[in-house]
Symmetry: C2
Subunit: 208 residues, 2 copies
Amino acid sequence: MSPPPRVVRLYESTLPSGNAYKVSLLLAHLGLTADVVALDIMASPSETRRPEFLAKNPNGRIPIVELSDGSYLAESNAILCYLAEGTSFVPADSLQRARALSWMFFEQYSHEPYIAVLKFWTYWGGLSNKTDAELAVLNTRGTAALAVMSTHLASSPWFTGPSYGIADIALFAYSQSAAAVGFAVPGPVTAWLDRVRTQPGWIPIKEG
Amino acid sequence: MSPPPRVVRLYESTLPSGNAYKVSLLLAHLGLTADVVALDIMASPSETRRPEFLAKNPNGRIPIVELSDGSYLAESNAILCYLAEGTSFVPADSLQRARALSWMFFEQYSHEPYIAVLKFWTYWGGLSNKTDAELAVLNTRGTAALAVMSTHLASSPWFTGPSYGIADIALFAYSQSAAAVGFAVPGPVTAWLDRVRTQPGWIPIKEG
């Protein structure tokens, strides 16, 4: 059986993207490198919504990775799962692995749409054009997501089973920006963010 | 090594939930049964936001499953992954498995928040109170999600690698309601919905 295709290229955005950073961070932890292509999502139309990119990802979103077989894989958290296969960054135990996935689905459904979106509006998206009602939804739901994380951290230091791994990387990507965009970050979450930053090979997100 | 804990109980809602149906459908395909507890999400407060349920899932959402070791697992798509381990409903190949996960993250980020939410508003959530702008967002993004699915179906009959499986179940849950709530469902998606309904052990979603 031939080995699975390698990740050879990462398509991300010229603006710092937490979702793309997840992939860069796990690559760094694993000591792997990939070419990087940065697309301008503020162009009109976005470089991710043009035919040459839609042929790679019909959903028109970054990050995607190009593999050594010439195919592409989309969705940051699915890319993490692929890269982590057989490494210490994903639990070998099936229930622990399912719990890590549970946190990764939580991240995309209950966390990213509020904290990442408020970050985007704050830095690049015209926060002043948003209504109080729109901002209240993001604040309430982002705060709730951070509270759920804090509850978990009362009994476990990590989100990926017994050790640091893919669910931590997924949640770190935008949690690290929560305080800067105005969320009151619970102490256990701040302590966990600090633990993540001490992991071997950790790299910061690129500057915008 | 002891076998992984079994799913013994499914917490879902008294209203038909596509996310809970995913779990019921895979259990049926696998010939497994679980006790069912239906919670009233229209109560005030929702039965999923009361202390006894929050102790099981701090995120306050159904479905969750109770396992034979007394623990709980949340997030419909993570539950699918857990139940499908070692079965034909998840690909053995790591890249095919990652692609199935990619579709499941797509479902939760780019599909469910639009098609499922419009379904909820239509049947239970006071559609008439929503603004034209709110409805336009759901219609535009739900239509885009169906188009992405249709593009994939031009080259592959399924979303879970070479055969029917967890990504198809995840996407079927709310795609089956898209036409009823006003989306123009592309022909390839309609044909795929019909293929899903012919799979051995398939069951319909319960009536509301």
